[in-house]
Symmetry: C2
Subunit: 426 residues, 2 copies
């Protein structure tokens, strides 16, 4: 007879309640020993449960020797980091959905876990219900990864999809999304790309088994994307998506960044709309696989959290000892991350210029001077104030050359404004 | 210092050579001790390798106590079954890409593996390079699966895609695919749905942790699909795909089958074209995730085979002992599989009738008499011989009622032929 592994659950907010309900309804191989929740009024949601199951004192979980798995679902760095650290020191395995914590403090935590012979699993930290952490550690582990491109933030993907469908501005759609509960009252972490940045850094750390310094990851959000850009992208055969990008081009540094991109419409990742997430993985020998599904939400996230709990419980049920494959992260070296200025991309550049002869020639000259080959240049709209809207599409060029060209354009008296610069996915 | 786990490789055909090259080029944690290949002329492909690595006698692998993992890549039932059986009895873990073997003889092999305390991994047996077996065992294991729908055979998906793009007949495209090497000289296993049937049965066994009797799985191929059907499907908003379907509707029996389906164009699985595979998984709490990628081929399949090898090697490197989570399959009960006649579906029915009054009425009467509600009926083409082509789309109806209606139609003197019946995905 197998014994039931006992777990301690920290936090019964959205994800925590999904985990609690899933364990109660679907699972008979683990048992929730104790639930810590600082807002004990949430206990009332569970009149069928013994009230002694709940506590507002996390130490009751951390110090309970029966609890083998400590499940952290409160998010953020403080106090989650300290609680997890104590739980690890008390030889508990960790399951968490906390992408910010893993991205910012994972290095310390993995080291500590290694020293204490326990495991940290975090499938839910990236792309909610989509299995991606375990596949990278296991089934895809024979691959040399060359590129990961992910739509990793549902809020921004919802906003971009709505902007495209309705021709509405970022600000309008953001307000609507906030009203519907799809965007936070303070949307900064989503719209500025920080959230996608955490997840991209985690994917990069798994793909190359190196520590990624989250501060070295370039992050640019979607707040400067306008319906004009979406319209031109569409005309040229692209959709605009916020992409978490990981690339390795055989030199020593890894290219890890988050920014909007023009994605060719015939790439299946371009068709991931609304709040869905997707991760495209390219490498040898697998070539290219894509995973898509719900990137957030009470139940999809619970699917991954409880999946991790079951993986761990199944293992430690047989031997009190963690799974080597899941211990990925030990002896990791720090990655050298490529500066965005050194990356090579194709670009979409939107410019507003005086409607005078020579503007196109000047733009071409500026690009040439900065070693940028143009793929195309389009002027077909005269704006209300008489100025001309010009779109440039470049061939592959170095980011620092393009930044210099943008500076040169801004200083040219015939050019009123460089409105936007968006990288183009190859 | 970790020791290198030694493996024995049986077969260096397409997949075997991909595995060999991947291990040699990408991997430094396992070592190939011996390769068995009955056609020793294949050894010449590897002049850089010591010829003593190769043997045409499988017993040299089976009886080598240094070999911990036996990798079977010859396919088919005989002699693969016997070799694997002997290897298990000699306490070797098994990695295989052999879908036919797992689908037909998995029950015996899992039992034997359990008795010998070893593990059988077979990620490559379903959907080539796409990780799907491990995710079902691990990250998605908290779910009650309600439906799996898979495009699991690249050859038939290529043929259907080409038929759609070129308006060509099944026979023409099959011939072209054979010339290009995308279809076998004897295409039966692919076009009749047997290959997809093995894979669907394996997915069902994992989703419900039950043994699936492959003989009880309904299999229907694509050889009766015509460009006319593809054209009408397109008009009604569908694409035709060969779908491996697994459903569980809360009664005791599981619905497992393979047949062509009209798939709504707004379902992302409808956009999986050419030789690609995809698997859609629906369940609670995850809702819906999709995996897509290359379903076959030397290197993608090698990605999964070597992934399995590394999972095993990492574990047995630390303890000579198999991983509980990977031992999925022990104590499995036999599944009760729903008879196709008892399933409930929507249907597309194409009929050729005399162009006389009363035909539509008769069709409506036949459907009504058999408890079938029509969603739509379309007659807009008169064929060269003066007969009328009529398409019926039904609401949900019981298969046996629809089969009876088709029989009734065939017996009606105004109806010349019931040309096709294709189920419609909801």
């Amino acid at each position: 007879m197998e014994r039931k592994i006992q777990i301690g659950l920290l936090g019964v907010g959205t994800v925590g309640s999904g985990v609690l309900e899933t364990v109660l309804n679907n699972i008979d191989t683990v048992e929730i020993k104790k639930i810590a929740e600082k807002d004990l009024s949430k206990v009332k949601q569970y009149p069928e449960l013994s009230q002694s199951l709940f506590t507002d004192n996390v130490q009751e979980l951390i110090n309970d020797p029966d609890i083998k798995i400590f499940v952290e679902l409160i998010g953020g760095i403080n106090p989650a980091f300290d609680f997890i650290k104590q739980a690890i020191q008390n030889k508990k395995h960790i399951v968490t959905a906390n992408k910010e914590l893993i991205a910012k403090r994972g290095k310390e935590l993995f080291q500590l876990a290694e020293e204490n012979n326990v495991v940290i699993l975090y499938e839910a930290a990236v792309a909610g219900g989509i299995p991606i952490i375990m596949p990278l550690k296991q089934s895809l582990s024979a691959n040399k990864i060359t590129r990961i491109a992910g739509i990793l933030n549902g809020t921004t993907n919802y906003i971009l999809t709505k902007m495209e469908q309705e021709g509405a501005s970022f600000e309008e759609v953001l307000k609507e999304a906030q009203n519907k509960g799809y965007a936070e009252a303070d949307p900064t972490a989503d719209v500025k790309g920080y959230d996608a940045g955490y997840k991209t850094a985690i994917l990069a750390s798994l793909a190359f088994n190196k520590n990624i310094d989250i501060n070295s990851v370039y992050k640019e959000g979607i707040d400067r994307i306008s319906p004009v850009d979406i319209g031109y992208a569409n005309e040229f055969g692209y959709k605009i998506k916020l992409i978490g990008l990981v690339q390795n081009d055989e030199d020593e540094s890894i290219d890890v960044r988050v920014h909007p991109m023009l994605v060719p419409k015939d790439y299946s990742i371009s068709r991931i709309d609304g709040v869905l997430n997707a991760i495209l993985i390219e490498g040898h020998p697998v070539k290219r696989v894509m995973f898509s599904g719900p990137g957030a939400g009470k139940f999809p996230t619970a699917s991954s959290v409880v999946g991790d709990i079951l993986c761990l419980a199944n293992e430690i049920n047989v031997a009190d000892y963690p799974l080597p494959m899941m211990r990925f992260g030990k002896n990791r070296k720090d990655a050298k991350i490529k500066d965005i200025k050194e990356t090579i991309n194709k670009y979409y550049i939107r410019v507003t210029a005086l409607n005078t002869p020579g503007v196109i020639g000047d733009l071409g000259t500026i690009c040439g001077k900065n070693s940028i080959n143009l793929h195309g240049i389009v002027q077909k709209e005269i704006l209300e104030d008489g100025s001309a809207r010009i779109i440039l599409l470049t061939e592959l060029a170095k980011e620092k050359d393009v930044q210099q060209a943008v500076k040169d354009m801004a200083e040219n008296p015939k050019i009123k404004e460089v409105n936007n610069l968006i990288r183009v996915m190859e």
